[in-house]
């Protein structure tokens, strides 16, 4: 196995409040290897999002380290619970944002953005505004935006939580396909057992607050993953394991 690109050691986070601080994470440690798809699974209030925000550099942990293997400042692509698009920008302009921030050439940015639009299947919507997109389409734009600057690490914070069940399941297949096409390292937070099993190579189960890793499950389902797989006995066995770990 190649050396990890991200090591997380003894992460502990306490949010100050009136009664001695809210403990969100306790002593969380794990490694992330290149091209791995890791899901962090846990009930609400287990500090999943806190963990993701620390990795993204949006939050300082109370103690512990997050170390990236190669660079001091890794490129991060992030997808949030809501699509979080800029309503004044068109689909194309939203997708180009990370390149604009890096100051990349305009021509190149357009070309890359069009590639991304093709990747997420939004041809014909380049010049649409976010107000005219459905929830699923908006989240596709968010995924394209998170990938365009070729990030070292893709962070997904319950990206499909606000979608209806059917759209969500369609997005799993999409994300699985995109992940295989782009060969990215992914750290995704979710509270859905099927979602984590369908997508991940590894599932980390966090306990109730303060969140700590209770299980590190290797998902040995073959790829590419298909919808039928969710109805097999092996999938059911893994799902039960996770369910028991959560409870």
């Amino acid at each position: 196995m190649p050396p990890p690109i991200l090591t997380i050691r003894n992460l502990t986070t306490v949010f100050p409040d009136e009664n001695g601080g809210l403990r969100a994470l306790r002593d969380v440690s794990f490694d992330v290897h290149p091209r791995e798809f890791i899901c962090v699974l846990g009930p609400s209030g287990s500090g999943k999002t806190t963990l993701l925000r620390i990795v993204a550099g949006l939050l300082q942990p109370t103690s512990g380290q997050v170390t990236f293997a190669r660079k001091q400042q890794p490129r991060i692509g992030m997808v949030f619970q809501q699509a979080n698009l800029m309503p004044w920008r068109t689909v194309l302009q939203n997708i180009m944002l990370p390149l604009e921030i890096r100051g990349d050439g305009d021509h190149d940015a357009h070309k890359k953005a069009r590639e991304m639009i093709e990747l997420v299947g939004l041809q014909g919507f380049e010049n649409s505004l976010p107000r005219d997109l459905s929830g699923g389409m908006a989240q596709r734009v968010a995924i394209a935006r998170a990938l365009i600057h070729d990030p070292d690490l893709l962070l997904l914070d319950e990206p499909f939580g606000s979608l209806d069940a059917l759209t969500r399941e369609r997005m799993w297949t999409e994300l699985s396909r995109i992940w295989q096409a782009r060969q990215k390292t992914v750290l995704m937070v979710t509270h859905s057992i099927s979602e984590s099993l369908f997508l991940a190579d590894r599932v980390l189960v966090l306990t109730q607050r303060p969140g700590t890793i209770k299980m590190d499950l290797n998902v040995d389902l073959p790829r590419p993953r298909r919808d039928e797989m969710r109805y097999t006995a092996h999938f059911g066995k893994l799902a039960r394991k996770l369910k028991e770990a959560i409870e």
Partner: protein, 266 residues
Amino acid sequence: MFCLPPSPFGRGNQKDMTKRFLPVFLSTLAFLFGWHVFTRYSGIPNFILPSPLSVWARFLKAISDGSLQYHTWITLTEILLGLLAGVTFATVLGYLLAKSRALEKVLSPYLVASQAIPVIAIAPLLVIWLGDGILSKVVICALIVFFPVLVNTVVGVRAVPAALYDLMRSLHASRAQILWKVEVPASLPVFLGGLRIGATLSVIGAIVGELVDAEEGLGFLLQVGDFQYDTPMVFVAVFTLIALALALYGFVRALEVRLLKWQDKT
């Protein structure tokens, strides 16, 4: 007539324009006709209530001797400079207040107190200090514009979604990039709402200043007309002021329609 939401079919729709302006046009016509009939048969003398026709005649005279253009230009200059100064200060200070709770705590009592004093009450002071020239009017105008723009800037900047800051920070965006790519466009709708109020108030500011003491401007024209029992002249000045206020309001509305196309159609 300017407060209608932008048409979903965009500009230049002929039928739409007719629909919008026909009622205004007809009601104006009816008003003028009623006014005319009233002055003609009520026996009220012209220096108390002039007929619309005598106002029109006075208007043509003021245009032909160039006095109306001259005084309108002076007032417009005061308004535009006052707007520029007021909006600039209000925007900068509003942004700082929105970003710093500490600064807000220190300054907000003063800002609220300053609003308790009507500008009309301090206008004579400002004229004493700054002279009866254009400067005192610009300052009065700026003061009256300041508050609504300030409040809306604070509200607009505070309403920028936290998630967009997270997005920008996850991409290692600079302060300047966050300002121009997120804060400015996101707060623009609320800011322009404040500007719209400020633009109409600015006309009041300039006139208040001119009425205190001035040698030129529409307020001066108004006063001269008043002293000389030239009531049609007073009406001409008042209608010119109305036209100025409407034009400014319409300009900001047009700006809103143009810049906020991305907003939800409501």
